[in-house]
C-alpha cells in the first residue's frame, strides 16, 4: 500500500488537473445559460444544465473549490425545482440563476487558477473575455488613433503612452503581454530603443518588444535588434502580420493535453496507466470493450495508443493490424505493453505496427516519457498533415471528420452543437484587383479572427479557397448565431491595405444545429444552404437553417 506522502502527492496532482479544467467548465455553464435565455425555455437544456451544476456541486469541494461548490448548489436548487415542477421560471427567478452563475464564474478569481483562453462566452455571457494588454509607446497620432481600435478586434487591449512618462507606474499595476514601441521616440532616433533597454533590464529580458518605425534602413534595424526588439515593422503598418506576430509572442505555452487511448484487459492496470499518464497532464481514455475500438477511435481521436499485447479475446498485435487497416489510423503511434521479454516477439510486434515495446512492470517515469515523447512527435507530424498550410486551420476532410465525431457525441449526449459555413464576399474581386498575395492576407486575417474568437474545443477549418467551416460543440443555434455575427462584424471592421489603398471585406455565413439534424451530412448540407441564402439575400449576414428541431428519443 502506498504511503501517506504518495497519496497526498497523487491527490495534489488530481487537484491541479481539476483546477486546470475548471475555468472551461464554468465558462461552458455560463455560455449554456446565456444561450438558454435567448430562446424559448427548453426543458432538455435545463435538464442538461441541472446535471452539470449538480456534478459541479459534488466535485468542486472535493478538490478544494468550496465557493464554486456553494454557488453551484444554489444554482442546482433553482434548476431542480423548475425541472421537477416542469415549469418555465419567471423573470425574477431567471435573474436569480444568472446571479448564481455569475458568482460561479467570479468565484474562480478568488482561487489561484490561470485564466482560460478567450471563448465565445465573451459575447453571450457575463464572464468578461480575457484581453491581452499591449503598451503602445509612440507619439505618432495617426498610429495612436487607429491601432488600438484595430487590435481590439483581435482581443488585444492597447494602452497608449506618448512618451516614457508613467510607464513604470503602469507596469507596477499590470504587466503587459508585449510592447509596441517607436524606436525614434523623442525624435532622437534612439529614445525608444534606450527606453526598451531600460524596461527590459527592469522587467525581464523575455518581455516581447515590437518596433514600429518610419525608417527601414539597416542601422535603425540593427539598433532595434541590439536593444532587444523581437521584430521590426515599417510604417504604414499592415495589421495582419502585426497580429500574427503578437499572437505568436503572447501565446501562452499551455498546449492541449495529449490524448492517449489505453487498451488493457486488466482493469486495475488500465486504471493505473491512465492515472499515471493523467497525472503527467495527459488526457486518457480506457477502452473497455474491444468491439468498440473503431467508434472509440473516432470519438476520442487519440494521438497515441498504449496497448497490452496479451488480451483474452484478441491479441494486441491483431488489434493493431485491425487499426492499421483504417486509412485514418495508419500513422497513429502504438506503444505495446507486455511482460514479454523475448526480443524476437518484440520485433515481431514492432514489424506489425508497434512503435515501441515496453516491458511490464514498467516504471511510471519511463511510461510517461515514452508516451509523451511519441505523442509529441506524432502531434507535430499530424499538424503538417491535417493543417492547411496558409491558415493553420484544419483541412477540408479533417474539419468534416471533426463535425462527424462531435455531432455523434453531441446527439448521443443530448447536447447542442452548431455547424457554421463562412464565405468571404466577393473574394474573386479582391484577388483580381489586388493580387493573390493580398487575397491570402485576407484569408489569413479571417482565420486568425476565428482562432481568437472561438474556444479550443471548437473546430475551425478552411473548407475551400475562401470558404471556412466551424464546429461549435455545446452551442445552441441562437448562441452560434450571436458568435458568428460578432465575428462577421469584427471582420467587416478590419482595414486591409494594398499600396496606398485601404479596403474592407465582408463575409456571409450559414449555420445549422445538431438539434435539427441527426447526422453530420444533414447539418453540413443545411449550413451550406443557409450560407447560400445569406449570399442571395445580400451578403454580409448570418443565416440560420430554418428546419424545425428533430425529435430525439430520450436518453437511456
Amino acid at each position: 500500500m502506498p504511503d501517506e506522502h504518495d497519496i497526498q502527492a497523487r491527490l495534489k496532482a488530481l487537484r491541479e488537473t481539476y483546477a486546470k479544467q475548471l475555468p472551461d467548465k464554468l465558462i461552458d455553464i455560463a455560455r449554456q445559460w446565456a444561450a438558454m435565455q435567448r430562446q424559448p425555455w427548453d426543458f432538455a437544456q435545463a435538464k442538461s444544465l441541472h446535471r452539470q451544476v449538480h456534478t459541479l456541486a459534488g466535485s468542486a469541494p472535493t478538490f478544494g473549490f468550496d465557493t464554486v461548490g456553494q454557488q453551484a448548489r444554489h444554482a442546482e436548487n433553482l434548476l431542480k425545482a423548475w425541472n421537477n415542477e416542469q415549469r418555465t421560471p419567471g423573470e425574477d427567478e431567471i435573474a436569480g440563476l444568472t446571479g448564481y452563475i455569475h458568482s460561479l464564474c467570479n468565484s474562480l478569481d478568488s482561487n489561484p487558477i490561470p485564466p482560460s483562453a478567450p471563448s465565445p462566452v465573451d459575447v453571450v455571457s457575463t464572464c468578461p473575455p480575457e484581453r491581452r494588454l499591449i503598451f503602445l509607446i509612440d507619439n505618432d497620432e495617426a498610429l495612436i488613433g487607429g491601432l488600438p481600435q484595430l487590435l481590439s478586434h483581435f482581443d488585444y487591449q492597447v494602452r497608449v503612452f506618448r512618451n516614457a512618462g508613467g510607464i513604470d507606474e503602469a507596469f507596477a499595476k499590470e504587466r503587459p503581454a508585449a510592447l509596441i514601441v517607436n524606436p525614434g521616440l523623442d525624435d532622437t532616433q534612439q529614445g525608444g530603443t534606450a527606453l526598451v533597454h531600460g524596461l527590459k533590464a527592469r522587467y525581464g529580458q523575455d518581455l516581447p518588444v515590437i518596433f514600429v518605425s518610419t525608417r527601414g534602413d539597416f542601422n535603425s534595424r540593427l539598433q532595434a535588434v541590439r536593444s532587444g526588439g523581437d521584430t521590426y515593422f515599417v510604417k504604414p503598418i499592415d495589421i495582419a502580420p502585426l497580429v500574427d506576430h503578437l499572437d505568436r509572442v503572447t501565446q501562452s505555452h499551455t498546449s492541449e493535453a495529449y490524448r492517449v487511448l489505453v487498451v488493457e484487459d486488466d482493469p486495475d492496470l488500465a486504471a493505473h496507466y491512465a492515472l499515471t499518464l493523467r497525472q503527467a497532464g495527459m488526457d486518457t481514455t480506457i477502452l473497455t470493450r474491444l468491439e468498440d475500438i473503431l467508434t472509440t477511435l473516432a470519438e476520442v481521436r487519440p494521438e497515441l495508443i498504449l496497448m497490452d499485447v496479451y488480451m483474452p479475446r484478441c491479441s494486441g498485435l491483431e488489434l493493431a493490424q485491425l487499426i492499421r487497416q483504417q486509412d485514418d489510423w495508419l500513422s497513429i503511434p502504438i506503444v505495446f505493453l507486455s511482460s514479454e521479454a523475448d526480443m524476437e516477439k518484440q520485433f515481431n510486434a514492432m514489424r506489425i505496427g508497434g512503435d515501441d515495446f515496453l516491458t511490464k512492470p514498467i516504471d511510471d517515469r519511463h511510461l510517461v516519457a515514452s508516451v509523451s515523447i511519441r505523442a509529441e512527435r506524432a502531434r507535430t507530424l499530424n499538424i503538417l498533415m491535417v493543417k492547411d498550410s496558409l491558415t493553420g486551420l484544419l483541412k477540408h476532410t479533417k474539419i468534416k471528420e471533426k463535425l462527424a465525431a462531435d455531432a455523434s457525441r453531441a446527439s448521443r449526449a443530448g447536447e447542442p452543437l452548431v455547424f457554421g459555413m463562412l464565405d468571404i464576399d466577393h473574394f474573386k474581386r479582391i484577388n483580381d484587383r489586388y493580387g493573390h498575395l493580398c487575397g491570402d492576407r485576407v484569408i489569413k486575417s479571417l482565420a486568425r479572427l476565428l482562432q481568437q474568437r472561438l474556444r479550443q474545443s471548437d473546430g475551425i477549418g478552411r473548407y475551400g479557397g475562401e470558404e471556412f467551416a466551424v464546429v461549435l460543440p455545446g452551442c445552441s443555434l441562437a448562441a452560434g448565431e450571436q458568435v458568428l455575427n460578432q465575428i462577421r462584424a469584427g471582420f467587416a471592421k478590419l482595414r486591409f491595405r494594398h499600396g496606398d489603398e485601404e479596403f474592407s471585406v465582408t463575409l456571409s455565413a450559414g449555420i445549422a444545429s445538431v438539434e435539427q439534424f441527426r447526422d453530420a451530412e444533414g447539418i453540413n448540407r443545411a449550413a451550406d444552404e443557409a450560407l447560400y441564402t445569406a449570399k442571395r439575400s445580400g451578403r454580409n449576414r448570418v443565416k440560420l437553417c430554418q428546419a424545425p428541431a428533430a425529435t430525439f428519443p430520450e436518453n437511456g
Binding site: Y18, G58, T62, G69, L275, N555, G556
Partner: protein, 130 residues
C-alpha cells in the same frame, strides 16, 4: 456472503475527475480492489465478471441514473443481493429516503473527503454485517 472482509467494489461514476480522486481514495487509501465504470450501461456489461462485494454508484448520470442502474444490476443473478451505496450531492432527507427505497443500504454525501471515504464505507459495511 461467505467472507466478511470488504475487498471488491464496483464504482459507477460518469465524471472523470471524481473517478480519479475516488480511485486514490478507495485503492490507495482504502486498499480496496475497484472496478470503475463510467455509466450504468458499462456497469451492466462488466459488473458480473468483476463479482463485486459492494456496488458504489453516483446518482445523477446521463443515460441510466444510479437507481435505474441498480435496478438493472439487480436483475443479474449474481448481483441480485449485492449491497449498494449511493453517492450524491443531494442530501435532503426525503431524497435520501427515496434512494434507500431504491435499494441502497446507505447514501454518502458528495463532496467526500478522499482521506476518509474508505473508512466511511468500511463503517457502513461493518454496520450492515453486524
Amino acid at each position: 456472503m461467505s467472507n466478511n472482509e470488504l475487498q471488491r467494489i464496483l464504482f459507477i461514476e460518469d465524471e472523470a475527475d471524481i473517478q480519479a480522486v475516488a480511485q486514490v481514495a478507495l485503492e490507495a487509501v482504502g486498499g480496496f480492489t475497484v472496478k470503475i465504470c463510467s455509466s450504468g450501461e458499462e456497469a451492466l456489461q462488466a459488473g458480473e465478471a468483476f463479482a463485486p462485494q459492494l456496488i458504489l454508484s453516483d446518482v445523477m448520470m446521463p443515460g441510466m441514473d444510479g437507481p435505474a442502474t441498480l435496478l438493472a444490476l439487480r436483475q443479474l443473478p449474481t448481483l441480485a443481493d449485492t449491497p449498494a451505496i449511493f453517492m450524491t450531492a443531494k442530501v435532503q432527507p426525503q431524497e435520501v429516503a427515496q434512494l434507500r427505497t431504491a435499494g441502497a443500504m446507505a447514501v454518502i454525501a458528495k463532496p467526500f473527503d478522499p482521506m476518509t471515504l474508505a473508512q466511511q464505507i468500511k463503517d457502513v459495511w461493518r454496520q450492515h454485517h453486524a
